[in-house]
């Protein structure tokens, strides 16, 4: 019973969206009472996929940016976590504390400075350039998660590898990274999610419509007049934009949960 209630609480708003996405615009906003008898239609989906920007383009942008961000974050975070683990001096706890502080900070507050940076460096309206701030903002959490995972590896493995003649780069490449695979997956998923969902920076860096990411495209719809939001197409966009994430969460929930949990236990 409690479980059903929990499911209803979590999913009902989404199911409402799903239903709305199949109703014609008039039935949605025109006369509320008329909803019951409304005919079902695919018109909304046709509208968003064929619209400007096409939703397909938007989803592609988000996915591409998410993948590049995830890759960049991991490429930077793995060596950093490895180095952090091997720091001997008092820098170790200091850097860790600073990273924790950075991971907690509400990143929306950085948007103005980052926008300024984008202007100076000529990065505005370049989709993949967004991966720089995204990776930067994801790094603290990624580094902390990976450092915890590296600390969990038995230290003798690296000792044995040193005796086998592996230098530190080879140890990272042949011993540490392969053993980190599960943590890399869960960390990568969290980074991908946060990139997929990021709004204020995408909103300010991107203005050309063919470059918009999903949240930025949503924002653009919302900023049209309050009374004329095309809810039907919007609901269709919601459904299509949520589907990849739903799949990701359902398939990889174990990894996502373990990523979050690691952060809590080791943080």
């Amino acid at each position: 019973m409690m479980r059903l209630l929990l499911l209803a609480w979590s999913l009902l708003p989404l199911l409402w969206q799903l239903r709305a996405s199949f109703l014609v615009g008039d039935a949605l906003v025109g006369q509320g009472a008329a909803i019951h008898g409304s005919p079902w239609t695919l018109q909304n989906y046709r509208l968003v996929v064929g619209g400007d920007p096409s939703l397909a383009q938007v989803l592609f942008n988000s996915a591409l940016l998410g993948l590049v961000t995830t890759g960049l974050t991991l490429v930077l975070a793995v060596p950093c976590a490895y180095g952090l683990r091997h720091l001997k001096s008092r820098l170790q706890p200091a850097v860790s504390a600073a990273l924790l502080g950075a991971a907690l900070f509400p990143t929306v507050l950085f948007f103005l400075s980052l926008l300024q940076l984008a202007r100076w460096l000529g990065l505005a309206n370049q989709l993949l350039a967004l991966s720089l701030p995204y990776a930067g903002l994801s790094l603290p959490l990624a580094i902390l998660l990976l450092r915890a995972a590296i600390a969990d590896l038995p230290p003798e493995l690296e000792d044995a590898a040193r005796l086998d003649g592996l230098n530190s780069w080879q140890r990272l490449r042949w011993i540490v990274v392969p053993l980190l695979a599960p943590s890399l997956a869960s960390t990568g998923l969290l980074v991908f999610l946060s990139s997929w969902n990021e709004y204020p920076i995408a909103l300010t860096w991107l203005s050309r419509s063919e470059l918009l990411t999903l949240p930025a495209a949503m924002g653009r719809i919302a900023s049209s007049s309050v009374y004329t939001i095309p809810y039907g197409p919007y609901a269709a966009a919601t459904v299509l934009g949520s589907l990849p994430l739903l799949l990701l969460v359902l398939v990889f929930q174990r990894w996502i949960v373990s990523g979050l949990t690691q952060g809590a236990v080791k943080g």
């Binding site: 907690l104 929306v108 949240p215 924002g219 919601t238 994430l245």
Partner: protein, 289 residues
């Protein structure tokens, strides 16, 4: 220190980007907050002493937004904690399909805030949203979900609670699962019921998880932006505006970058001070144990 040279080299690329993203904005905002940079100056940046800070102190809208942000963060995080604990206890109980349930519960957290903010805006639409359609079909007049300040505020909190409770629940679930089973079994052998187990065993051992989840959520709630921007736009009559959305407005609508930077810096400092107070408080509680 010399032994640290190689590790520092490993860390250098990441630290460089971190510095650019996390340290440079502080410097930039500090500098900008002592300059006028707006439409009035033709977007040129001119030093103006402490004028921005003076304006901040006298800006009723800033203080109102600060109060609203604190209130929003306090109430929504409080609700998330209570509800999150309930959900965590529910998910902790062994049952079939627990993994699937956990995944489904996690969905609101994983979805983009922007997407669901607009979703809520439609669901709560007055008078055409499905909730009001339901109310009207029961023969009542539509409820002003997003048109009167007090209800709008309440439903903004609700939308935030809906989205972020799963996060808190998963953290607390991790805490519950870190408690060895034998401890609970030992307590049950002495005749303890659910409530005693929760109060005497689980809650005390959850404290570090609770404090981490609270710290994280409070800091994030302080920067609430996506939801406000897309659900209410700060309205009605500024009643749901947050510090972050006010700062955004100053920069992107009024193009007053100097003042926007001042607002952000002030918010920075508030988060910093509150976090340190929180950590200090936690340490005090920890020390008393």
């Amino acid at each position: 220190m010399s032994a640290d040279l190689l590790p520092l080299l490993w860390m250098a690329p990441a630290l460089l980007l971190l510095g650019l993203v996390f340290l440079w904005p502080w410097v930039h905002y500090c500098w900008l907050s002592f300059h006028a940079s707006s439409l009035l100056t033709g977007l040129a940046t001119l030093p103006n002493g402490g004028a921005n800070w003076q304006r901040l102190l006298q800006d009723g809208r800033f203080w109102q937004d600060a109060l609203q942000t604190v209130r929003f963060a306090g109430v929504s995080v409080g609700l998330e904690l209570g509800l999150g604990l309930l959900i965590a206890l529910l998910l902790h109980r062994p049952s079939r399909g627990r993994g699937l349930l956990r995944a489904l519960v996690l969905i609101p957290w994983a979805l983009p805030g922007t997407v669901m903010a607009l979703g809520w805006r439609w669901i709560l639409n007055d008078p055409h949203g499905p909730l009001n359609a339901l109310i009207q079909s029961l023969g009542r007049s539509p409820f002003p979900f997003l048109t009167s300040p007090s209800t709008t505020w309440a439903f903004t909190v609700l939308a935030d609670v809906w989205k972020t409770t799963p996060f808190v629940a998963i953290i607390l679930l991790a805490g519950l699962q870190s408690i060895p089973r034998d401890l609970e079994e030992a307590l049950r052998l002495e005749g303890a019921g659910h409530w005693t187990v929760l109060r005497r065993l689980q809650w005390p051992l959850l404290t570090p998880y609770v404090s981490l989840a609270l710290l994280f959520r409070l800091a994030q709630a302080f920067g609430v932006f996506d939801l406000i921007q897309l659900l209410t736009g700060g309205g009605p009559a500024g009643s749901t505006e947050s510090l972050a959305s006010y700062a955004y407005l100053q920069a992107m609508r009024f193009l007053d970058f100097g003042y926007s930077a001042t607002l952000m810096l002030a918010t920075f400092l508030m988060v910093l001070v509150l976090s340190l107070l929180w950590l200090g408080g936690m340490r005090l509680v920890g020390a008393r144990r």
